[in-house]
Amino acid sequence: MKYLDEYRDSAVASSLIKEIARTATRPWVLMEVCGGQTHSIVRYGIDRMIPESIELVHGPGCPVCVTSLEMIDKAHAIASHPDVIFTSFGDMLRVPGSRGDLLTLKSRGADVRVVYSPLDAVQIARDNPGKHVVFFGVGFETTAPANAMSVYRAKLEGVKNYSMLVSHVLVPPAMAAVLNAPDNRVQGFLGPGHVCAVVGYREYESLCDRFHVPIVVTGFEPIDLLEGILMTVRQLEAGRAEVENQYVRAVARDGNGPAIDLISKVFEVADRKWRGVGPIPQSGYQLRDEYRDHDAEKIFEVESIATRESETCISGLILRGARKPSDCPAFGKECTPQRPLGATMVSAEGACAAYYQYGRYLSGRAVAKAAPADESNGKAHP
């Protein structure tokens, strides 16, 4: 597949790893922001191919994981409404709220449907005039253009029975929260490739200046990630702190103009509470007032529900990169994808889910390294 296969080439990967090994003269801690990047790293075993001195910690780039418990409980309350068809992406179905998840509600008769695109939800609304269709708008900036379009079109076409429960979160405030934490160890970032494809990376320049950390906007395939790591390590070794773009084939500094236009038409920046992290000011989107008729939070009066987080779950620490999934005592035992305690295990992009899917709960107990054919690959982790 073009623009995928070349970025999975083992010879190129090998050269990059050698180059990283040559370049790194001391230990560095890097964070990849996006859940899709975490997934790719674990799936290809990248973190175990690079020199041991480079540590990758996983960031809060899983929008499902960071959706606040209150918001999840609100979603469940709305979904339980008999006249509602509740639609969302597949991930959200199994995210645990205070009491159960959407899948449980579905098995008890709630009309909960998985859609691939928010436009599908608008179509469901057109097809079911007697019901109200709510779409759970969870995501980072990457998904904002799609969500904005659905609300914009619904209003334009007079689809009155469509509304969105918005839970958009923004990456730069999340990165700032990571960097501001007293126990932060992250020295450089692999920036979120698809978020930046949409909104560009100008905003990351001020983060760079403020915190003096290199940020390399990186793609998702193994070669992208390795190149991003190399570029970040080069900056760190040279004492530089700039925004660079590794994902040049898809990302421009100013982002996608038409997408940014429509996002600003439909959404405005607002404060948001992040699960596991707490409230972060100006860290999310909400619908503008002119779209209030399509704002599920305004349409459905949901009384504040007393929320109950699992005491065992350390999702919060994992989302800040302060712990790894394998550090959690519940990982793979009490907490599995089948019975998740927290969001990082439920979402396909959560670090815990990625670790679990690719057997990391086993690999601490197995010999995880099949002997590499070429020893000069650079030392790899056990």
Binding site: L4, P63, L119, A146, E157, N256, P258
Partner: protein, 89 residues
């Protein structure tokens, strides 16, 4: 959910003022909203996320940056001796 996959636009049309098209990913074709990539034409590659093209792949940039990676492969085949000389101290 956050999957952004590159695919080739094989057809495009206007549907109620919205630009949509067929995008092919290795033999699978899906309908994709092309409203956000007005500059992308049939034959171009786009990154698709939840049914929307969010970016047009810049072929030249892709080729240029990939060539740099391939060149890296040439230099990394240095002898230990040569490598030692290049590496600082």
């Amino acid at each position: 959910m956050c999957l952004g996959i590159p695919g080739e636009i094989i057809a495009a049309r206007d549907e109620n003022g919205l630009r949509v098209g067929s995008v092919r990913f290795a033999g699978i074709t899906r309908q994709v909203c092309l409203q956000y990539v007005p500059e992308a034409a049939v034959g171009d590659f786009v990154v698709v996320h939840v049914g929307f093209a969010i970016s047009k792949i810049d072929r030249e940039e892709a080729e240029r940056s990939y060539r740099i990676l391939e060149d890296l492969g040439q230099t990394s085949e240095l002898t230990d001796d040569q490598r030692a000389r290049i590496k600082p101290s």
